[in-house]
């Protein structure tokens, strides 16, 4: 259906889909309580399309609602013996409610206009956008201010990063040498005297690697007790 010449409308004119619907209803001079839903729905779709309102979610939602009601009109549900549900009822209720709000808007707008014609005391003109006053400051003030700002800068945290590669190969060789002489070793013997953190880590990784290769067996007789290193696989050792 084409919109008639009466629908020369602008986007800003409407405060929402209900407002647009009321406008269409007024244009058509139809009874709001007996809404010709098919006609109104078509007009609504056509107008939101023409106005580019079809991007606005609120209008789309209303369009979907109108189409659903239009479909439900074809298959109304029975409520009672000779009572049929009117699918338009909820929409009509909202439209009437909204129409009432529009009427109140006119009333409130008029009241505000009348009130605005009376001035109370203590009127303060909105301050003009004056440029900021030129800064008046002497050198000492400026330096003091600069110092205060500098004092706020946190001391940067600097670390010297020293590369400390693990010497797994060296540890592996040492353990091989120790196992050549001893059937079993204690953990302390494996890491050697005065071991550094790097030595401990290197040795530990070497032990795990050798255990994986079945060169040795690691065991711990009691929880948290010292680790015992035995030459060969568990089966051989057993």
């Amino acid at each position: 259906m084409q919109t008639g010449p009466g629908f020369v409308v602008e986007l800003e004119k409407f405060s929402g889909p209900l407002d647009l619907l009321l406008h269409l209803i007024k244009e058509d001079e139809v009874d709001i309580t007996d809404l010709p839903i098919a006609k109104i729905a078509d007009q609504f779709l056509s107008v939101i399309n023409d106005l580019g309102l079809n991007q606005a979610a609120d209008y789309l939602e209303m369009a979907a609602r109108l189409l659903r009601i239009k479909a439900q009109m074809l298959l109304p549900r029975r409520l009672g013996d000779d009572e049929w549900e009117d699918p338009r009822a909820e929409l009509v209720r909202r439209l009437l409610e909204y129409q009432q709000i529009r009427e109140l808007v006119d009333w409130l707008g008029h009241a505000a206009d009348v009130r605005a014609e009376r001035f109370g005391r203590g009127y303060e003109a909105p301050p003009p956008d004056a440029p900021p006053a030129p800064l008046q400051i002497d050198l000492n003030d400026l330096l003091a201010a600069a110092e205060r700002v500098i004092a706020l800068i946190p001391e940067p945290m600097l670390h010297r990063v020293v590369p400390r590669p693990l010497d797994v190969e060296g540890a592996t060789a040492r353990i091989h040498a120790l196992l050549a002489e001893h059937e079993t070793l204690g953990w302390k013997e494996a890491i050697g005297p005065q071991a550094t953190l790097v030595d401990v880590l290197s040795t530990f990784i070497a032990l795990l690697e050798l255990a994986k290769r079945s060169v040795l067996t690691l065991s711990q007789p009691e929880p948290f007790g010292p680790m015992v290193i035995t030459r060969g696989t568990p089966r051989e050792a057993a």
């Binding site: 405060s15 929402g16 889909p17 209900l18 407002d19 609120d58 209303m62 909202r94 009437l96 409610e97 909204y98 129409q99 009432q100 709000i101 529009r102 009427e103 109140l104 808007v105 009333w107 409130l108 707008g109 009241a111 505000a112 206009d113 009348v114 009130r115 605005a116 014609e117 009376r118 001035f119 109370g120 005391r121 203590g122 009127y123 003109a125």
Partner: protein, 180 residues
């Protein structure tokens, strides 16, 4: 005028907002009938004055007479406040009649998202959060403020038109929470 009336006149002159009956009574707790004194002042200003004593926003305030608005404004001694947008007025109407009311109900009645409009009205001091609702998330519920009455020139909320006085009378689905 009585001494009490003169005192109240001075206070009302000094204040830049409506003063409530309680505020005025607190000026001179032991001295007679504040209401009668206010009536006295009002009658005094009825004629021969460019300002008048107006009952507004649950209080009293000296305001200039309407007929001088244009001249005063032209001279920029005072300017009318900016008019509220239709969206703002719609939202105010809903909140004024349904208060305390949540954002969702306002959205539902207007058929559009009203969050931005409500934020602006809060900023202008025309509405405020009055309580929290029951139910999911305990939504913030809004009501109107004294400045709302002030910009509309209303004495109190009862000055708003009754819903059954409007041409579109609507029965509310739920019982009316009439504002006190």
């Amino acid at each position: 005028m009585e001494p009490l009336a003169k005192l109240l006149e001075a206070a009302l002159f000094a204040a830049s907002r409506p003063l409530t009956l309680e505020e005025l009574a607190s000026l001179a707790p032991s001295e007679g009938d504040v209401r009668a004194a206010l009536d006295d002042i009002r009658q005094n200003y009825q004629e021969d004055h460019g300002v008048e004593l107006v009952e507004i926003a649950e209080g009293w305030q000296f305001l200039t007479r309407r007929e001088y608005a244009e001249t005063i404004e032209r001279a920029q001694f005072a300017l009318r406040p900016r008019r509220l947008s239709p969206a703002a007025l719609e939202t105010l109407a809903i909140i004024a009649y349904r208060q305390p009311v949540g954002r969702l109900e306002v959205d539902e009645i207007r058929g559009v998202d009203s969050g931005a409009v409500m934020d602006k009205l809060v900023e202008r001091g025309l509405i405020e959060v009055v309580t929290r609702g029951e139910g999911l998330g305990r939504p913030l519920l809004y009501g109107t403020t004294p400045p709302f009455l002030e910009i509309l020139g209303l004495k109190n909320l009862e000055d708003l038109p009754r819903l059954d006085e409007l041409s579109v009378a609507l029965r509310r689905p739920t019982p009316v929470d009439e504002p006190e």
